[in-house]
């Protein structure tokens, strides 16, 4: 069958079905009961799209090396993807999501780059004049032309946009991966730091992108160097954009990079004139943008502030001296809990680092066995990606009905006997209510309203905001200085001895 092309009704019908399945899948993915089915519907949509594309390529058959390339790439990618998906620990989820994001962006960038190479190849195959320049028939007639007049501005603009967004997604995600996996230390740069350099990089990249399309008339060889320069500059830009951003702002960064990976695919859809890429890419772009917005709102900061300012640690932090802090032990925690009728657990990044989710669930089960009500209060930016705590607690089989959002549970702290803060800091800092504080206006969990607050934390060191947390000095606050898992484990065994 050689006659089936992209424009055939069969293929376009398959692409339409695929687009609808993607939309259906995403809508199912948004509800707890149907989420797993939704993910599978989206996977089916992808399968339909890939099979339809392969049918089109069948017309190109007879070139065995090409099939080897295709099959080889798909097989290699499948094996790596399978192994990564199976092997990764749930605590390493943020890194993996960042990594996959980067790969998606990279693929879009490479496709656009390959299309530019193809266009350049065709361009270079044209006849040359006496001066060595290629003479071709462009939009404005015969002459020496550039990529934009030869292939149209849409093609070139979409291609350079794909490279820009895709490359920033790739290198930005790899930096985010490094930070999340603890491989890149978050060395804070000076007040000016790297940001002016980013502005220069961006301006240069835009200029080079313009040149790729609109300069080098009749000279495809020099245009090639401009394309390489564009790829290099945009990769550097991605690094420069993410390096200065602190670990606790990662939920915003990951959401934004997620959005970029969709927009890169979308832009590639304009390069290839393929509506399916535009639909699927836009869905991802929209989803990432909304998550970004939710994360920013949860920190009461604007996106620009997260990306370009960072938190000014010196603004209103005051001194970091603590007075009247009461230290406690796991044994005392067990005793306090023994008398409690209602307990709220507030998990934070420290819980993820210590992998304490299973021990926390064990403690909760013990308490529930004694008729105590146990709930979890989840701050939207607790952890390193949106919904990070929910995944960890789900892994430990904590029923999701016990997990409450900030708005749902904040009024209940005052009726609660004991609140245990496990590895969280800024999300329960009363400074958010003080004007002029670095985190002023950020929605926080009012844990101090409960009768007793036990804070499990390794030291009095500040959270990402770099400011003091007066919660630790409150009369009803007890500090349990230990690794989260060790502390909770000890409390569980003490509890058994009571």
């Amino acid at each position: 069958m050689g006659a089936i092309t992209m424009e055939s009704p069969l293929i376009q019908g398959a692409y339409m079905a695929s687009a609808l399945l993607f939309i259906l899948g995403i809508s199912r993915l948004g509800r707890v009961r149907s989420a797993r089915a939704g993910n599978r519907i989206a996977a089916l949509a992808m399968l339909v799209a890939v099979v339809a594309t392969t049918i089109v390529l069948w017309g190109d058959a007879g070139r065995e090396t090409l099939w080897a390339v295709l099959a080889g790439g798909v097989a290699l990618g499948s094996v790596i993807g399978l192994v990564l998906a199976r092997r990764v620990a749930m605590t390493a989820m943020p890194e993996l999501v960042a990594l996959f994001n980067g790969l998606g962006g990279a693929a879009s960038m490479l496709v656009a780059w390959a299309e530019l190479e193809r266009a350049r190849g065709t361009w270079a195959s044209g006849p040359r004049g006496a001066d060595g320049l290629v003479v071709s028939e462009g939009l404005f007639g015969l002459g020496t032309v550039n990529l934009a007049t030869l292939y149209g501005p849409l093609f070139v603009v979409a291609a350079v946009l794909s490279i820009l967004i895709g490359a920033v997604t790739l290198s930005g995600s790899l930096v985010a991966y490094g930070k999340l996996a603890g491989k890149i230390r978050g060395a804070r740069l000076g007040p000016l730091g790297i940001r002016p350099l980013n502005a220069v990089l961006l301006a240069t990249a835009v200029a080079v992108a313009g040149a790729v399309g609109f300069a080098f008339a009749g000279d495809p060889e020099t245009a090639a160097w401009a394309i390489y320069a564009l790829v290099g500059l945009t990769l550097l830009l991605g690094i420069g954009l993410v390096v200065p951003i602190g670990g606790a702002d990662m939920p915003v960064v990951i959401s934004l990079l997620n959005s970029y990976s969709g927009l890169a695919a979308c832009s590639t859809g304009f390069v290839l004139q393929n509506n399916l890429l535009i639909v699927a890419g836009s869905l991802v772009g929209a989803s990432g943008l909304i998550l970004t917005k939710i994360m920013c709102r949860a920190m009461n900061r604007s996106l620009a502030n997260v990306l370009f300012a960072g938190i000014d640690a010196g603004s209103a932090g005051g001194d970091q001296e603590y007075t009247g802090v009461k230290s406690t032990s796991a044994a005392e925690l067990a005793m306090v809990l023994d008398a409690a009728q209602s307990v709220i657990i507030v998990p934070g990044y420290g819980l993820a680092v210590a992998q304490a989710q299973h021990k926390v669930q064990e403690l909760a089960t013990l308490l529930e066995g004694r008729g105590c009500e146990v709930r979890y209060a989840i701050h939207p930016v607790a952890g390193r990606m949106p919904g990070h705590m929910n995944v960890l607690l789900a892994e430990a089989s904590v029923p999701y009905e016990r997990l409450f959002e900030l708005d749902e549970i904040n009024g209940d702290f005052k009726n609660t006997d004991v609140t245990i803060v496990v590895g969280a800091n800024d999300v329960c800092n009363p400074a958010a209510y003080e004007e002029g504080s670095a985190i002023a206006g950020m929605p926080v969990l009012d844990v101090w309203d409960s009768r007793t607050v036990v804070v499990v934390k390794r030291s009095l060191s500040p959270g990402y905001a770099g400011i003091k947390n007066e919660l630790f000095e409150r009369d009803n606050a007890l500090m349990l200085f230990d690794d989260a898992r060790a502390a909770i484990e000890e409390a569980v065994s003490e509890f058994g001895d009571l």
Binding site: L283, L291, I294
Partner: protein, 119 residues
């Protein structure tokens, strides 16, 4: 001789009116899809934020469709190398993304049953 160059132009050429009208159609599709996406995702509960993100991530691997045609069509050597890389990376994104999302959501499912048992 110029006819040769014209024949070899990719579909994306503006030499006919196809690309101009595709821009308009493409922008319509883009706007409507963004609208649908925003409407669908605004309602997602925080519990599902991570699976949503990782599932969406896998969907962004749709660029695999573009990568496949890249490696197959009349591409120069450099284009094919890029195409092969693109296919591999996009497939990792797609296969890994959907599988890990399924694994995650499987845990959410079991916690749901746990709730029923507890009641």
């Amino acid at each position: 001789m110029t006819d040769l160059a014209l024949l070899a132009l990719p579909a994306a050429t503006l030499a006919d009116d196809g690309a101009g009208s595709f821009l308009i159609v493409g922008l319509w599709v883009f706007l409507l899809a963004i609208f649908v996406g925003v409407e669908l995702i605004t309602k997602v509960p925080p519990t599902l934020h991570t699976p949503l993100m990782s599932g969406a991530n896998a969907i962004s691997g749709i660029t695999l469709v573009g990568a496949l045609s890249c490696a197959a069509a009349d591409f120069p050597q450099a284009g094919r190398v890029l195409g092969f890389l693109a296919i591999t990376l996009a497939t990792i994104n797609v296969v890994g993304g959907f599988l890990v999302t399924d694994r995650m959501l499987g845990m959410f499912g079991s916690s749901g049953r746990g709730k029923k048992d507890a009641d």
